[in-house]
Structures are given as structure tokens and as C-alpha cells.
């Protein structure tokens, strides 16, 4: 009796440990490539463009991210008033690759394309990223919507918030069709 109970406990423990350490639960991995994300958003109709980061832009981006941005230019895709950005920000130690779609100065989609941290991968769930829909940039370059955090993924949540704000800022610098202005 005791032996069978011990065996059952060991089995449950092993199953629990295996599931906890699996990449699926940790959320580590590449979920979608950049080209696939762009193709999904625009269905091949968008044109690839480049935003050159002048000193002023870099200063503002530094304010939003809390660190200097790397690179002299940022690539984005545009169709009409919709732009898509693939940006990276470090959660705790590793960069999170985030795809952000902005339409008419409001966020239309946020998607985690690659998550490399060992913890905090819950930010990739649609239930979380859906909170950003419709968010715009306030005068202080923060999001105008409150985003509920996730316990244990605070740094990743902050990273997504910063990237969303940065994408909105970058979008505001792009040339928009006259009808949308």
C-alpha cells in the first residue's frame, strides 16, 4: 500500500517537474519570423521603408526606452495609415522581439515574435497583448491606457510597454496619407 502510494507520488512529481521545465510553459522560443509577421499583417501589400534616427529622434527614443537605442535606422512596413514595426527590448537579460502594428496613431496589434528569457513568457498570450489595442501615446510619451501586469513577468511587461510606446512614437514620424491627418 505504502509502496504503491510512493510510486504514484513519484510519478506525479516527475510529470509536474517535466511540465514545469518544458519550453512551452516557460514560453521560450521563436514564434514567428519577421517576414511572416509582415505578410500576415499586410498580405504582401505593404512597402518596406526606413526611418533614419536623427539625434532628436534618438534622444526621444532614449527617453521612452530608458536606454540609448542602437542603430542608425529602423525598418518598417507601411500600407496606407498602417505601419508595422519589429523592435527588440531586453526583459531581464535577453531581448524580446516584438511586432507592433500601428494604425491611425493607435495600436492595432502587439505580437511577441521571439521570447528568450527563461521566465515571464506569459506576455505572449493574446489575453495579455489584447490590452494594447487602441492605445495611443500621451504627451509624456506613455501609453494612454492602463496595462494590467503579470505576476512574475514584470520586467517583460515593462519591456512590451516601452516597445509599444516607441512604435507609436516612430509611427508619428512617418509620412501618413493626407486623408488620415
Amino acid at each position: 500500500m505504502f509502496k504503491s502510494m510512493l510510486n504514484a507520488l513519484l510519478l506525479v512529481g516527475t510529470a509536474l517537474l517535466t511540465s514545469l521545465s518544458s519550453p512551452m510553459v516557460m514560453g521560450k522560443g521563436v514564434y514567428q519570423s519577421g517576414p511572416d509577421f509582415i505578410a500576415e499583417v499586410f498580405e504582401q501589400q505593404a512597402s518596406a521603408k526606413v526611418l533614419w534616427l536623427t539625434n532628436d529622434i534618438r534622444q526621444q527614443a532614449k527617453y521612452i526606452l530608458g536606454r540609448p537605442v542602437s542603430g542608425l535606422r529602423i525598418r518598417y512596413h507601411q500600407h496606407g495609415s498602417k505601419t508595422a514595426w519589429i523592435l527588440e527590448e531586453i526583459g531581464k537579460e535577453m531581448p524580446i522581439t516584438i511586432g507592433v502594428v500601428v494604425e491611425a496613431n493607435k495600436i492595432a496589434q502587439v505580437k511577441i515574435l521571439a521570447y528568450r528569457e527563461s521566465r515571464g513568457g506569459e506576455v505572449r498570450y493574446p489575453a495579455y497583448t489584447r490590452q494594447y489595442l487602441g492605445a495611443a501615446l500621451k504627451d509624456n510619451y506613455k501609453l494612454d491606457q492602463s496595462i494590467d501586469g503579470i505576476t512574475g513577468a514584470t520586467l517583460s511587461v515593462w519591456a512590451v510597454n516601452k516597445v509599444a510606446a516607441l512604435a507609436l512614437y516612430y509611427h508619428s514620424l512617418t509620412e501618413q496619407p493626407t486623408a488620415d491627418r
Binding site: V30, G34, P35, S70, G71, R73, I86, L113, A114
Partner: protein, 248 residues
């Protein structure tokens, strides 16, 4: 053997063993104390890069190779940082596989991305595998204005403005040959950059356990441990005999 003879025999060996262990007991106590307080003493933060020590551990310092661009050097040192002379130009997953230059930019190919740098070493943009860089690219070649990325199986032509790639049958062009960094300019980098080091904690632990001297060292520390046990037993036996003698 009567009690007196037994006491003399026991004490003689107790003294002999005690004397022979004198230095080892002090040494093991000091190293044990250090290991016990390793976090406080921050032994794991002290990196030892002595050539002899690294060679003893089989960790020879690899000379860092770089790519000479006129009078400037592009190289990767440490974890992921890519340096242009002494400035961090960007970061990518090592190794830095190939470097080539066009009239406008420097192209640095790492394991996971292709970094586009301006001629003065500023990062323009990085093109990662997530953005469409083929995974098995080993070399970047420049032929006039054409940039080719080659792998053992195939080659693609790369447009640095649009980041588009398209397959080609044959690639041509040149890349820059790697060469060791000049010691006089990059001494600090050569010493610290390759990442080969032993922490003081590892050294103390290996000395404490005898592993530093291989299997013979471990056996020696085992024997020392055994002799310490004998020392404790002979000490106890001396005390017991002393009590018996007093009763007699």
C-alpha cells in the same frame, strides 16, 4: 601489552601523525574557512588569468583575431560585443565569421546576424535570422556594389538597403582576412577578452580537495583525511588510557 606500553605506543603514533599533518591541517582549515565564507569574500568574482594557471587547467588563452579596416580594427571580444577599435559597435552571437566592406559600409557576419556598420564603425542596422538571414551563412563577399552571402550549399545576393535576399548560382568577391590583434594596441583586450579565466573560488576549492594536482592530489587529501581520523582516535585512546592509569 600492559597499559603503560599501550599508552607509550599510542602517544608515539599520535605525535608522529600530528606532526606530519601540521601543515596540511592549517592549510585545509584556511582553505575550508575561505570556501565557507566564499560569498562574503567574493572569491567567485575574482578571475585569475595567469598564463601558467590557465595552461594547468587546459585553458590556453586564444589570441583574439580581428579584421583590419585601413588603420582600424573590428573584432569580437568577451561575450557578444563587437568592437570597432576600443568602442562597442554592436552585439551579436559569436563567432564573428566574416567581414567585408563596401564603399559605404562595413558588413560583419556573426552566427545569428549580419551587422551593417558605417565606415566609422557606427551600427546602422542588424539583419537577423528572424528577419530573414539564412541560418547557415558562413561568409560575406563584396564584389563592387554587390554583396553575396555564401554557405557551403548555396549563395544569395543581399541588398543592404532593402535587406532583400535572392538566390544566385555563383558568388564572387572578397572578404577581409582575419589576423591576430596587435598586442601593443589591444593588450587589455587580449588578456581579458577571450573569456578564459579561473575564479579564485575554483582554485581554492581544487586546492582544498586536492583536485588541483589530479588524482594523486585527491588520493593525498584522502590519506590526510584518514590520518586525521586516526589522530582523533589515538587522541581519544590516549585520554581513555590516561583515565585507566589514574584508576590504577
Amino acid at each position: 601489552m600492559d597499559v603503560k606500553k599501550s599508552i607509550i605506543f599510542n602517544l608515539r603514533w599520535h605525535r608522529r601523525i600530528g606532526l606530519s599533518l601540521f601543515f596540511m591541517v592549517i592549510f585545509l582549515s584556511v582553505t575550508g574557512f575561505a570556501l565557507n565564507h566564499s560569498p562574503g569574500l567574493k572569491l567567485s568574482k575574482v578571475d585569475l588569468t595567469n598564463d601558467w594557471l590557465l595552461s594547468w587547467y587546459g585553458l590556453e588563452q586564444e589570441p583574439i583575431t580581428g579584421y583590419k579596416l585601413n588603420e582600424n580594427w573590428l573584432y569580437q571580444a568577451g561575450d557578444k560585443h563587437l568592437y570597432y577599435n576600443h568602442t562597442i559597435a554592436g552585439s551579436c552571437l559569436p563567432p564573428l565569421r566574416s567581414v567585408a566592406t563596401t564603399a559605404q559600409m562595413i558588413l560583419a557576419l556573426c552566427s545569428d546576424s549580419l551587422l551593417l556598420l558605417s565606415q566609422d564603425g557606427q551600427l546602422i542596422e542588424s539583419f537577423s535570422q528572424l528577419q530573414g538571414l539564412p541560418a547557415n551563412v558562413e561568409q560575406v563577399l563584396v564584389d563592387g556594389e554587390n554583396i553575396f552571402l555564401t554557405s557551403p550549399a548555396n549563395a544569395v545576393i543581399f541588398d543592404a538597403n532593402s535587406l532583400n535576399i535572392s538566390a544566385v548560382k555563383q558568388a564572387s568577391g572578397a572578404s577581409i582576412a582575419p589576423q591576430p590583434l596587435p598586442d601593443n594596441q589591444f593588450k587589455g583586450v587580449s588578456e581579458a577578452g577571450s573569456g578564459a579565466s579561473i575564479s579564485l573560488e575554483t582554485l581554492v576549492l581544487d586546492l582544498h580537495s586536492g583536485r588541483f594536482f589530479g588524482n594523486a592530489g585527491v588520493l593525498f587529501v584522502d590519506i590526510v583525511g584518514l590520518l586525521m581520523c586516526i589522530l582523533a582516535i589515538t587522541g581519544l585512546w590516549a585520554w581513555v588510557n590516561h583515565q585507566r592509569l589514574r584508576k590504577q
